[in-house]
Structures are given as C-alpha cells and as structure tokens.
Symmetry: C2
Subunit: 345 residues, 2 copies
C-alpha cells in the first residue's frame, strides 16, 4: 500500500518551503544573526547546480563577505584509516569546550560516487553532531575538484559570517584535493599513523611539504612505541626540509584521538603558529595570496568549462585526440586545429 | 670608427640567407637526410615568435613526424652545482663512443633573463661540441615554461627525424620545469651531490618521486665516502616509495663525471629500464599518454593566451584583482564579472 497521505504531506511541506524561500537579503540576515537553518539553506543555495540560483547565491555571499574572514581555517588531511573522523570529533569537542564555535566542512570530489565518504556518516561524530556550538556539513558533490573546492570555499565565508570562529576543512589524503584545501586554509595538519613503510607516505605525494604539523594518531596501547618511533623519524625528515615561507618549523607529534590524549597539545601548536604568522605578517599576506589564487583559478576553470561544454568541439576533440595518441599528428598542430574551429564557431 | 664594410657584408650575408630560405619541404628533406645545418635552421624556425613562421614550422614538423619517435629520450635534472654540464659531457662522449648519435636539448625558462644559463656556455662541453655524432642546442627562450617546453618537444621530433637516437634533455632543478621535462621523456635521471641536509632535496620538491635513477656525482677524492653514505641513505628513502606505474624500482648510484667513473653503469641502468618498459608495454603506453597530455596542455595554453592577450580584459583584470586581494569581492563573483565582460567583447 502506498502511504499516500504522507507523500501528500511531504510534498506540501516541500512546496511550502519553496514558496517561502527567503530573499537573498533575508537569508544573509539570517546567517549574520547566527541562524543555523539559514546557514544550511544558504550553503544549499550556493551548492545548487541550477543556473537560476547563481545570482541569488552570489548576492548572499556578497552580503556576508564583509563579516567573514574572522576565523582560523584549519585543513586536516590523512589517508583513509588514520582516524580522521575520530580525531575531528575529539578535536572539535575540545574546541567547543574552550568556547570556540566550530564549523566542519569537507572537500571530497569522490563523494558523488561514494555518496559522501567523508563526513557522510555523521554517526562517526556522534557527540560533535549534537553540540550546539558545532556545525557539520558534508562535502559538496560535483564532478570536478575545482567545483567542489569553490563551493567549500564559499561555505567558509558563510560559516564565518554566521559566527563560527574555527573552521575545520577535512579532505581525504589520496589525490589532488589536499592542494586545493591547502590553498584555502591558514594551517595545514597532516594526520598519520605508525606503520611499516608508511612514514614517508606524505613525502611521497608532496603533502608533507605542505604540512604545518604532522600528528601521528592511534598512539595508544601496543601501538604507542611504534608511534613514538615514527614521530622521531618524521621529525628527522621534517628537519631536512628547507624553512617554509612562513618561517615556521613544522614538527611531528603523537596523539590518541580515541583516548583524547594529545588533543589540547595539537591546538596549542596551532595557536602558536597563528601568533607567529600574525606577528610576522604572513597570515594576512597568505590570505591575500589565496584570494588571488582562487580568482585566477576560477577564471581558468570557467574558460575551460566553456570550451569543453561546446558540443561541436567535444566530438571534434575526440577524433583529433585519437590521431594524436597514434602519433599521426603532433600534439601542437592538433591543438591549433581544434582551437581554430572552436573560435570560428 | 664604424667598421662599415663589415656591417655591409654581414647585412648582405643575412639578406642572402633570407632570400635563399628553403621551403618547408626542402628543410624537412634536409633534416631527414641528416643535415645538421638544416636541423638548426628548422629548430630556429619553430622557435621563431614571428606568426608568419608558424605555418611553415608546422609543415616541417608534420613531414618529420613519421620519421620521429625512434629514440630513447632521457631527462636530466639537478640543482646548480651538481655538475650537470660535466656529467653530460662525459655521458654524451660515452654514448657516441658506443655508436650512438646524441642530441642535447634544454628546457630553461629562465634563459631569456640569464641569456641561457644551461648549455649556454658550450665551452663547458668542449669535447662533445666537437663530436660529429653529437648535436647541442641551448634552451629556446620564451616567457612561459609552457612555451619553452613546447618548442623543446618539437625540437625532439626534428632531432629524431635527423637520425639522433639518444636525446638528452637537461633542465635546472629549481622550479616547475622538471615536471615539464618529465612528461616528455622515457627516463628521468636526477643528479645530486653528497652534502649536509641535501639528501632529501629531491624529495622536498617531489622530484625524487619522478626519478627513475638518482646519480650522486662528484664521488671522487675526499668526497667518495660522503657520496657512498648518501647513496645508502637515498636507496633507503627510495625503498619507502610505493612502486611506480612502470613497475621499475629506482635506485641511487654514485659517479665521478670528471674522472669518467660510473658513466657506463649509468647507461646500463637506462638500458635495463628501457628493456623492462618495452617488455611490459609501459614504454609505448607512456609515449601515447605524453602525446595526449601535450595536446590537452596546448589547448589550455592557447585558450589562456587568447584571454590574457586581450588588452581590454587585461586592464579590467587588474582593477578587479585589487578588489579581490582586499577582500572587497569574493574571488568567484569577481571571476564571473571578468569573464562576462570578456565573452561579450
């Protein structure tokens, strides 16, 4: 039997929401008043793929922007299995415990396929989810990393305007998304665990180079000794790296998220960095540079989108690409042929 | 006193060259016949920034392309001071000694400013320069790495069509140029020297990850012990890296280019790799992938060039960029404004 009455009620409720869709101004005002419902709605609006929503979304952001930027933005990465959710749960609870308002966002371009592999399962952050001073939002979905990253960066602006002063941006440490997250945060934390041959996993992918702090999680029970050994190894490796532009010397430390050990020490390191970077002007300079970076990135992205979304170009491109792969035409000659056709259409 | 007669003679000679400028077909034929003068002229043609030369250059390349691809392409990188020129001199002489025809090219985007910091001073390769089975060509100059890399990649095609079977592409290990070179070669060699704290210099910039072989140069005299120690350290580090897509395990070895020790061993390693990669199909697959990569890269480059060379856009861009840096407008809103104006013009 079809539960018709419930469906009708749901439909009515949704229609009601639509009818009552607040104006950009009202939505922005709600965000600025610290209203979580308004914040969620505003983020849904900027995440919308419906072109009719773009202008309204831009308006909300424009109104929130003057009230943003007053936060510490922390990127957290680590390959699956290092215990990111447990760490964020423990770290987030610690932060709200010392009076912070914490927003947790994610950049996970794979979430379209995996239906939100990070933060998707909020049950892994049971306590934080119920904390009224925490706001958890899973990754925007989207086909390209650029698109997902852009939406997360806009969400940061909205969260800050809503009064969140500590923004955690989680990403899964397996692809290019760390670079995207690195370019939108003030501090970049690499989470690792002790494990044979894994000590250099971050070095391998150039992630260690971006880290301001390496935290070796699961330093508990039988694992404690191994974690301490890894800490020593990593501190040695980090020492070899030339100094960072920020003048900060990254270090490795251990923690046990599940036992809530090493959590306050992690925050102390971050506070120390923020003071350091604010004092020497790097903090401000870095945010300016990040703005310019995303401006340029977005321009490039939009130029390429327009090119690739041209259906005539797409089919022509495939034909020419085959000839290129087979070495029948040089890649450079082929590119000019494709573009000549694109610009003449 | 102005040496008028000499100037007049020079001018006449240059004019003569221009008048006698061979057709694309004649130039390509010269290259295919193994004529070095034709090869040099053809490379000068493809390096020309004069748009009138583009079509002719494309024609020469198109005619050479079916005769290219029959070579081993080796990228050689290392920071200044590791002895790249000395190594290439020794390595090149060894190769011609065993019957190879060696072309040495370079990718050095800084050469416009430094007037050819790599390979510019041919006196550093005294013997190789005089070797009739070697051809040395300094880096193309250009403002962008993309432009310089493209010209080098086209030069590779011409050198191969001219009968050179071993192509060495040198780059200076301080920027992004290694990535460009890595994506145009079959084998990537990282040159290092022993030195306090320098062991991980390649890891730091993600270059070690690209290397198929690390050669520690200057393993001579007092330095021998230190070089051997570095070799052990590096072999240990390389072991931590996950296996490469090629299934090849990179290793570190020592050499003394100045004493011609370790040179034949270097070549043996490269030969071993080539056999390995040809047997498992990686060699062919990699070249196909590189073709596609350069095709896509060139399309993107041309799209961006067209955008940035639009003078109206350029001035608008500067104004908007300032607002973005100061946080007056979000990078994303700013990008759409700039592009709306660009596409409407």
């Amino acid at each position: 039997m079809q539960p018709e009455s419930i469906n009708a009620a749901s439909a009515g409720y949704i229609a009601g929401l639509r009818k009552n869709a607040p104006s950009a101004k009202a939505l922005a005002q709600g965000v600025l008043n610290g209203d979580i419902t308004a914040l969620s709605r505003a983020i849904t609006l900027i995440e919308s793929a419906n072109p009719n929503h773009f202008e309204k979304a831009a308006e909300v952001i424009a109104q929130c922007l003057p009230h943003a930027n007053k936060s510490v933005r922390i990127g957290i990465t680590g390959v699956p299995g290092v215990g990111k959710s447990t760490f964020i749960e423990a770290f987030g609870k610690y932060l709200t415990g010392i009076g912070k308002k914490v927003a947790v966002l994610a950049v996970d371009p794979s979430s379209t396929v995996s239906h939100g592999s990070i933060l998707g399962d909020k049950t892994r952050m049971e306590e934080l989810v119920k904390d009224k001073n925490a706001y958890i939002r899973p990754s925007a979905s989207g086909e390209t990393l650029g698109g997902v990253a852009q939406k997360t960066r806009e969400s940061v602006i909205l969260c800050e305007a809503c009064g969140f002063d500590t923004i955690l941006i989680e990403t899964v440490g397996v692809g290019q998304s760390e670079t995207a997250v690195h370019s939108m945060v003030d501090f970049f934390l690499l989470l690792q665990i002790a494990g044979a041959g894994d000590e250099l996993q971050g070095i391998k992918r150039g992630i260690m180079e971006m880290a301001d702090l390496v935290v070796i999680n699961k330093a508990d029970g039988d694992n404690t000794h191994k974690a301490n050994f890894t800490k020593t190894e990593l501190n040695r490796a980090l020492h070899y790296f030339p100094p960072k532009a920020s003048g900060w010397q990254p270090k490795a430390m251990t923690c046990s998220a599940v036992n809530r050990i090493g959590i306050s020490e992690t925050w102390q390191q971050i506070e120390r960095y923020i003071n350091h970077a604010k004092n020497n002007g790097y903090f401000e300079m870095c945010r300016h540079k990040q703005n310019t970076y995303w401006f340029t990135e977005t321009i490039h992205q939009l130029l390429l989108n327009r090119f690739y979304s041209n259906s005539e170009t797409a089919s022509h491109l495939e034909t020419v690409k085959k000839a290129v792969q087979n070495g029948e035409i040089s890649p450079f000659a082929a590119a000019s042929i494709v573009l000549k056709k694109y610009f003449s259409s």
